[in-house]
């Protein structure tokens, strides 16, 4: 996500990132809670789960990130995140994004552009999956008739 940033810009970013340490099994955030930012995994492993029975949607590791929707949209978390191993995470939050846009607009814009590209890419993939699933459903319905 920060691959386009120069060393100087990374130093500016470092000042606003929050390093957090999580024990194995510790909850990063719960589904339904208000979220204000995203997390990047520096070390360890995080499970993204949904529902009361904690159904696992994805297992993320070093270099992955999650919760990025909350950076742009003030809405409750759509899934829970739990550290499945002892982990070190970097938190990047909406107020800090606004602050960097205000003080270092060039750096802020680069981050914002990259974030939009990644969300657009996920949307594109979701659309493809959605289309494939719809086609499968139509084929099944046709077979049933």
């Amino acid at each position: 996500m920060f691959q386009d940033l120069s060393k100087k810009e990374l130093r500016q970013l470092e000042r606003i990132l929050h390093q957090r340490t999580y024990k194995q099994g510790e909850v990063v955030f719960n589904e339904g809670e208000p979220g204000v930012g995203m997390y990047i995994i520096e070390d360890g492993e995080v499970q993204i789960t949904i529902g009361k029975d904690r159904r696992v949607l994805a297992v993320l590791s070093k270099g992955d990130f999650f919760g990025e929707m909350a950076l742009l949209l003030e809405a409750p978390r759509t899934a829970s995140a739990i550290a499945s191993k002892a982990s070190i995470l970097y938190g990047f939050f909406q107020p800090d994004l606004f602050s960097i846009l205000e003080t270092y607009p060039r750096t802020g814009n680069k981050i914002l552009l990259r974030l939009s590209q990644m969300i657009a890419e996920r949307l594109r993939r979701s659309n493809i999956e959605n289309r494939e699933l719809r086609e499968k459903l139509q084929a099944l319905e046709a077979k049933g008739k």
Binding site: R15, I16, H18, Q19, R20, Y22, E26, V27, V28, F29, N30, E31, G32, E33, P34, G35, V36, G37, K52, P76, G91, F93, Q94, P95, S99, E102, T103, Y104, P105
Partner: protein
Amino acid sequence: MDITINRFLKILLFLLGLAAIGWLVVKLSSIIMVFIVGALLAYILDPIASFLEYKGLSRAAATGVIFLVLALILFLTVLFVVPPIIDQVKVIQHNLSSDTSAEAIKNIEQFIRKNIPFMKESDLNLQVRVNEMVTHFSNSIFGLLGSVISIITTLVIIPFVVFFLLKDGRSMIKNLVSIIPNRYFEITLNLLYKIDLQIGGYLRGQFFDALIIGILSVIALWFLKVPYFLLIGAFAGLANMVPYVGPWTGASLAVLVVLISNGEVNQMVMVALAFAIIQLIDNVLVQPLVVARSVKMHPLLVIFAVIVGGQFYGILGMFLAVPVAAIIKVFVIEVYNMYKKVNLAF
């Protein structure tokens, strides 16, 4: 049984801790007040530092530039504004004990007695009351500058606090946030952000609004040849920071001074008119431009907060009442909303 004893001990320790913190706050209240004033000034100046950072300066250089400009303003104020204000306070105190003002007050007393017959002589006694009021007023002004918090504290510690909070404030907040447990970390960040949104614009706006109103009042009173124009203008500007009560206090003081000094009805009307125009300019032009209407509170709540603030911390308490009430309001609303959302989700 053991669990009950443990719980009891924990509650006892918690209460003892709270009492110790309360005792410390009371004992160190004057130092805490210095830090609050410093933090408030740093908070007001923060957008200027951010703007200079945006223009390419480092945070330290931006803080340095702000301090140079402030030092220049302070130097000019001490050189040109403070001596006349001190002189004017002395002149007010002297004039009130003079024969002319005594006669003017006597005339007012006679006028009231004639028109309100049920007023007894002992009910009025205006001369003594005005003397008491002015002595109290001038003492509180000098007290604010000198005796309550010593001059050394005011001149050295506050700028020191402002400098470091302005330069390192962000990393200090980051370090403070880092000690919050993971469970409450994001909620705390969200709360801090919401509080900043609510009171940031309000505080900065009120500060610049008071400055503009103060300057306009000084110009108007100087133009109308009102004695002690500098002092009354500065007071009107400062008083304007107290919602609802403030603007009336400044105008009343100016009219009262004219009444006591020469009692000319024309000049009193002109002064009242000037303050009405200034308030009109404030409401129509200055406030919509400068003061962000971020603090949305019912007028009754604002007045209540101002009275409570005044009761605890005097003039400073009245200034701080609205932002403190806004912080409490945001805190309660956000915690309630979070509780509701979490309960709805599960």
